[in-house]
């Protein structure tokens, strides 16, 4: 497969690293080479967690500014903050459920309107899929499944070229049995949401 570069941004605790591992496993099942890099030093303390996943023949495991083919954002303001990773050719998938930084929560920092975030992402990139992954995760039975909802939306866009079946197998291998059923439902809900987006 041609090299595809995916950047995932999230807030610590949103399950970004598990999502990355599921995609890595899906790559193995699909016979696609993959390298991933993550920065998670302060994740537990409310910071931003970023993963870079490079699928295909390229050897590097990080992604330069402007060179992400896909940007998957777990939080709308974090998606917009990562806009410098994108180009006109980048496909963007974002959660619309907000997790405002603490400074915003106490009225001391700016948080753009979600509609404004969506407008900017549409204007600057090749396309946007925006969904309330938190609502869908709750519908699937667990707010912890936001990551898997977003994986469903990502797979539905076809940007990665992985089959749904291979990703489901990867979810089976990588999630704890107690969460499996909810995660599979979350995955389906993500797919459906992206279809109508």
């Amino acid at each position: 497969m041609e090299t595809t570069r995916l950047v995932i941004v999230a807030v610590g605790g949103q399950g970004n690293l598990l999502a990355s591992k599921v995609l890595g496993e899906a790559a193995l099942i699909s016979g696609v080479p993959v390298r991933m890099s993550e920065i998670h030093g302060m994740a537990q303390r409310g910071g931003v967690v970023e993963s870079a996943i490079v699928f295909g023949e390229a050897k590097s495991s990080i992604i330069s500014d402007g060179e992400a083919d896909i940007l998957l954002g777990f939080e709308p303001a974090e998606t917009l903050r990562a806009i410098n990773r994108c180009s006109k050719k980048t496909m963007v998938i974002t959660n619309t459920a907000t997790l405002p930084p603490f400074t915003v929560g106490i009225g001391k920092g700016n948080y753009p309107e979600v509609e404004e975030i969506k407008r900017l992402l549409v204007a600057k990139t090749a396309g946007l899929v925006a969904l309330d992954a938190m609502a869908l995760a709750r519908e699937a039975g667990s707010p912890m499944s936001v990551n898997i909802v977003l994986l469903g939306a990502l797979i539905q866009t076809g940007a990665l070229g992985f089959t749904k079946e291979n990703v489901i197998e990867a979810i089976r291998r990588r999630t704890k049995p107690a969460f499996l059923e909810k995660n599979l439902k979350a995955f389906e809900l993500g797919i459906e949401a992206a279809k109508i987006n």
Binding site: L28, V34, S37, G46, I63, A77, G107, N110, L120
Partner: protein, 626 residues
């Protein structure tokens, strides 16, 4: 069974770089491993610790890196394959034993891993530890990928045994914290019973012995140069009149750049993985085949300077470049060479390769972001329910009429320097809170109150406190005893009750008894979630002339929750609130938010520490009734 103990050679599994390194050590038959945890190395030791519970491997969390290296040095001189790992600044702590262990050598294979952190994702500096290999005279290997890291540690043990020298394995964060598929190899059963053979003319480093050992060290380095010349970790890829010499992760950026630019027929790459001593003849031959050479290495011009010296010896006058003059370009201009700052990335390397060799290349158009509104930053913060927040608040209240300097230390609590707590004025390295307090208290007439975590106190705070007692310094030290090494992911330390985890093979050091035994005259204990009582006790300690120690005892809330020691009992703000906002302005707990101009508490994240409830002047914060 631990996934890294799975003896199924040929199986392909996804591993974090640090897991791959731990697996590589096990495949190499490592028998003995020591560490002090530090990002980005921590997952190596975590996995070895877990594996040691179900295998013959001996593993220990030592009190600091110097201790870890000395413990390991003895094992390696008893014939065992020994692995000692730490973050880059940890090697500064271990530098004393390192330099002379290089003279003494080892009888069993010994690998010392230094996890460097270019770009300082979680460190106080970005020093380039390759210089320790040159400084000490140690052979050094540097992997370019996760899979290679696993193979390289095996090679490092063999190299160590063939030279009788410890080998430095130097990684960077992008190796430690990358994931990739790795093919498992065969696990070699470790030799776990060592024996020390007395050899005073090698092992007792009095001057007369060491003079001879230094000669032997230089002989070993000469032999190592020969091994580097034929090492499979040094290789040439491609052919052409342009040359790139590179190491570590930069190799893959260079490889991608050559391919992306379509110049495979013009460029040959010399990848160096065995980087001390450098393969001198191999490099000279490579230079002889090139018209122009670019050296691509993150950090300092370690290879570049040596390569230029080799060229001079050979009378080779081709252009050889790497770093900018001054090396602080940040790569901002396309005509710049490489920087000594931060880390590299594929596009940066592609652009500079193209510019340097005069290849046509149009860089990607930069995303226009002038119209993107400002987005509030998301800095890390002390957790909801973190006991450090309470301690900082109380010290601040107790000292509010004083002119105070607050030296602090390395750990989660360094974050206390941020407003509104603003408790943290000076930090340079582990343990420095105590010793700099000694200096500040003598050099100024300001009151000095310093902070140190329990693990950091064991690491290197104790000697500073002994100094303070002996030299009769005048300050208050607050030891934040949260029963775990929190920052690096909850590793044990000598003050932890290991029986709580069902491990009965450990002792325990009581901090209060230790501090009293050191001769500190004023020692007090606070339970930081009892706010007023704590403030009163702290005031008394601050009034004491001499060295006073306050031990603030409360478990790390993240850890306490993870082992079921604590359950969340969220609080709420009731109608009695008259909007003083003392809670949100005074302690800035991340569970607060503002809705319709009034403070609220997020019940999903509030754990119920009740700090805010105790400082509310209206007594308006109460437990949430379900």
């Amino acid at each position: 069974m631990h996934k890294l103990l799975n003896d199924s050679p040929g199986e392909k599994i996804m591993l974090l770089g640090n897991e791959a390194i731990a697996r590589g050590a096990v495949e190499a038959g490592v028998a003995f491993a020591t560490t002090y945890p530090g990002t980005p190395s921590s997952e190596i030791s975590l996995n070895l610790f877990q594996m040691s519970r179900e295998s013959d491997l001996y593993f220990e969390y030592s009190t600091n890196e110097k201790v870890a290296l000395e413990v390991a040095a003895a094992a390696a001189n008893s014939g065992l394959r020994t692995f000692c790992m730490m973050k880059h600044v940890g090697l500064n702590v271990a530098a004393d034993p390192l330099m002379t262990l290089a003279y003494v050598g080892v009888t069993g294979g010994m690998v010392i891993l230094s996890a460097d952190d270019p770009a300082m994702f979680s460190s106080q500096n970005e020093q380039d530890n390759r210089y320790y290999a040159k400084f000490g005279g140690l052979p050094m290997l540097e992997p370019s990928s996760v899979a290679e890291a696993k193979e390289m540690i095996k090679g490092a043990f063999e190299l160590s045994e063939s030279l009788g020298q410890p080998v430095l394995l130097r990684t960077t964060t992008r190796i430690n914290h990358s994931n990739a598929f790795v093919t498992l190899g065969k696990i070699q059963k470790p030799m776990t019973q060592g024996r020390f053979e007395k050899d005073p003319h090698r092992c007792v480093t009095v001057p007369a012995v060491s003079r001879g050992l230094h000669v032997k060290l230089l002989d070993k380095l000469e032999k190592a140069t020969g091994l580097a010349e034929s090492s499979s970790f040094n290789f040439i890829q491609g052919s052409g009149k342009f040359g790139i010499i590179t190491n570590g992760v930069s190799f893959h950026y260079a490889e991608d750049a050559v391919k992306d630019l379509g110049i495979e027929d013009k460029v040959q790459i010399l990848r160096l993985g065995f980087t001390n001593p450098l393969p001198e003849q191999m490099i000279k031959n490579f230079l002889g085949q090139c018209e122009k050479v670019l050296v691509i290495e993150e950090g300092e011009p370690f290879m570049e300077e040596a390569i230029k010296a080799f060229a001079q010896e050979e009378g080779i006058v081709i252009p050889i470049n790497g770093k900018d003059r001054g090396g602080k370009s940040r790569g901002s201009k396309s005509t710049d060479l490489f920087s000594r700052l931060s880390e590299y990335d594929p596009a940066m390397v592609r652009g500079k390769v193209a510019t340097y060799f005069g290849i046509d290349y149009t860089p990607a158009v930069k995303m226009e972001i002038a119209d993107v509104p400002e987005i509030a930053m998301r800095p890390p913060n002390l957790c909801s329910g973190c006991s450090h927040r309470a301690t900082f608040y109380e010290v601040k209240q107790a000292a509010k009429d004083m002119d105070v300097i607050c030296p602090t230390d390395i750990g989660c609590y360094t974050l206390g320097f941020m407003p509104p707590l603003s408790m943290g004025d000076f930090v340079i390295c582990m343990g420095s809170s105590v010793s700099t307090s000694c200096g500040f208290s003598k050099a100024t007439d300001q009151k000095v109150v310093s902070f140190i975590g329990d693990s950091t106190f064991f690491h290197s705070g104790i000697t500073g406190l002994v100094n303070a007692v002996f030299n009769r310094h005048n300050f208050t030290l607050v030891i934040l005893e949260n029963d775990i090494t929190a920052m690096t992911g909850h590793q044990p330390h000598p003050g932890v009750d290991m029986e709580r985890f069902g491990m009965d093979t450990f002792g325990r050091v009581n901090i209060e008894k230790l501090v009293r035994a050191l001769g500190v005259e004023h020692v007090s204990i606070v339970k930081p979630f009892k706010v007023q009582k704590s403030i009163d006790i702290i005031k008394e300690a601050l009034a004491f002339k001499g060295v006073s120690v306050i031990i603030s005892q409360e478990p790390c809330i993240l850890f306490a929750k993870s082992i079921g020691l604590k359950k969340s009992r969220p609080f709420m703000i009731t109608d009695k609130c008259t909007d003083h906002k003392e809670c949100i302005n005074g302690i800035a707990c991340p569970s607060f938010y503002i809705e319709n101009d009034r403070v609220k508490i997020d019940a999903d994240t509030c754990v119920g520490c009740a700090l805010c409830a105790q400082i509310c002047p209206e007594n308006a914060i109460r437990p949430l009734k379900k």
